[in-house]
């Protein structure tokens, strides 16, 4: 049983390492995809408020 157990442990360890590598790779790929994320961020919302021709009035005329 021990040898089998040892084999299972070794398989699990390999899987863990593989999974970690895959995650690291995905993270790297995601990081490399930076421009796509910032492109979405480049749509910027701005509010402009404006008046004009107040002509010295301190009360609206109508």
């Amino acid at each position: 049983m021990k040898p089998i157990g040892r084999r299972v442990s070794a398989t699990l360890l390999s899987l863990t390492i593989l999974l970690s590598l895959v995650l690291l790779l995905l993270a790297a790929v995601d990081k490399g995809r930076g421009p796509a994320t910032s492109a979405a961020e480049e749509w910027r919302n701005v509010t402009i408020v404006y008046t004009s021709d107040i002509k010295g009035k301190i009360d609206p005329c109508g």
Partner: protein
């Protein structure tokens, strides 16, 4: 949020309006305005007054095509760069060369107003290098602004000044979004825009709020306005100097020429065609429309109770109307006894100082009625 004004913030060329403009500038300083395009009215009190307001109240007036004729220099910064929400806005402003600049100041230079299109074709590429999005404050009115934008590249947003119209719906000229907020503080506009990666406006919506009684006053500003109005009453009285309204009677009224002409149509037509009819316009053209020493001879009953004042309803008594010579209409309607006063009153204004060539017989022929 970006806060803009299309210009013509200042009032008319009168002392009371100047005082009111000073107050308006003080209050506006708390609104955080990012740029104000120069309107011709903003020079009504002279360049020094404008600069004082800019310094004292941190009001960012800009203009790219008005120059001092003596030096050839622009009188204001041509544009500003303002960053909001991660966008660098380059804001530039031009004035219509056809607008006449008349100031109350004796010390102002002549102004040269250069062609807006030539100015902007030169300047917009320069601004583009420093900004993502270019905003033009066009103090050219509606039609000239639209004509300009059809000839001009590189402006993303344009706020139109010198207009009565507010643009309550989305408007675009070629690639430029048009904004307009009407006049006299009746409306405040709001544009919610999405700015793309190249600084272009990819989508936008317009909201126009009518500043009527449904909008509650800010209590702090309302209190300031209330105090200022009290101050203005005293200021108005002090301005009259020796020309206080002490003559005549509270019981009498000047009825204006509209009442006179009902019975005296022929006489009214003669006087209407004379220089008396343009008395106020001639004063204003010389920047003296506020001067009590002059007003006393250019309006009806300046020193009389219920006589001319620059507030309604007494501002209808401008120019040398019938009652300037014949006296209160209410008295005339009762006994018709004021005719004699007309001849006497001529020399009250046509004196040696103001009318050295005055000859009653000759002058009377011009307005004989």
């Amino acid at each position: 949020m970006l806060n803009l004004d299309g210009g013509d913030l200042f009032g008319q060329r009168e002392m009371v309006e100047k005082e009111q403009t000073r107050f308006l500038c003080e209050v506006s300083s708390s609104f955080g305005i990012d740029a104000i395009g120069l309107g011709e009215r903003d020079l009504n009190y002279g360049i020094q007054f404008l600069r004082d307001m800019m310094t004292t109240y941190k009001l960012p007036f800009i203009n790219a095509n008005v120059k001092d004729s003596r030096t050839g220099d622009l009188i204001l910064p041509p544009y500003v760069i303002v960053e909001r929400g991660g966008v660098r806005f380059g804001i530039v402003s031009v004035l219509d060369p056809q607008q006449k600049i008349v100031t109350m100041s004796q010390h102002d230079p002549e102004y040269i107003v250069e062609d807006p299109l030539v100015t902007l074709r030169r300047l917009v590429p320069e601004i583009r290098k420093q900004a993502d999005t270019v905003i033009l404050i066009s103090h050219l009115g509606d039609n000239l602004t639209e004509e300009l934008l059809k000839e001009l590249e590189g402006v993303d947003i344009c706020l139109v000044g010198h207009t009565y119209r507010n643009y309550s719906t989305e408007r675009v000229v070629l690639h430029t979004v048009l904004l307009g907020a009407g006049h006299e503080g009746r409306f405040i506009g709001r544009c919610d825009a999405t700015i793309g990666s190249k600084g272009e406006v990819s989508s936008f919506s317009i909201g126009m709020t009518s500043l009527d009684d449904k909008i509650a006053d800010d209590p702090v500003v309302a209190e300031k306005v209330s105090q200022f109005k009290e101050h203005l009453k005293e200021f108005r009285t002090s301005l009259r100097g020796e020309h206080q309204q002490t003559k005549g009677s509270d019981q009498e009224q000047f009825l204006t020429e509209r009442s006179c002409q009902k019975c005296h149509q022929d006489s009214w037509k003669v006087v209407k065609a004379s220089a008396h009819e343009n008395a106020m316009a001639s004063l204003r053209s010389k920047g003296q429309g506020f001067n009590p020493d002059c007003l006393v001879c250019h309006v009806v009953g300046y020193e009389y109770k219920n006589g001319y004042d620059d507030l309604p309803p007494y501002n209808t008594l401008s120019n040398v109307q019938c009652e300037a010579c014949h006296g209160y209409g209410t008295m005339h309607a009762r006994d018709g006894s004021m005719l004699k006063r007309a001849r006497e009153s001529c020399v009250g204004c046509h004196d040696q100082e103001n009318s050295p060539n005055f000859d009653y017989a000759v002058y009377w022929e011009k307005i004989k009625h």
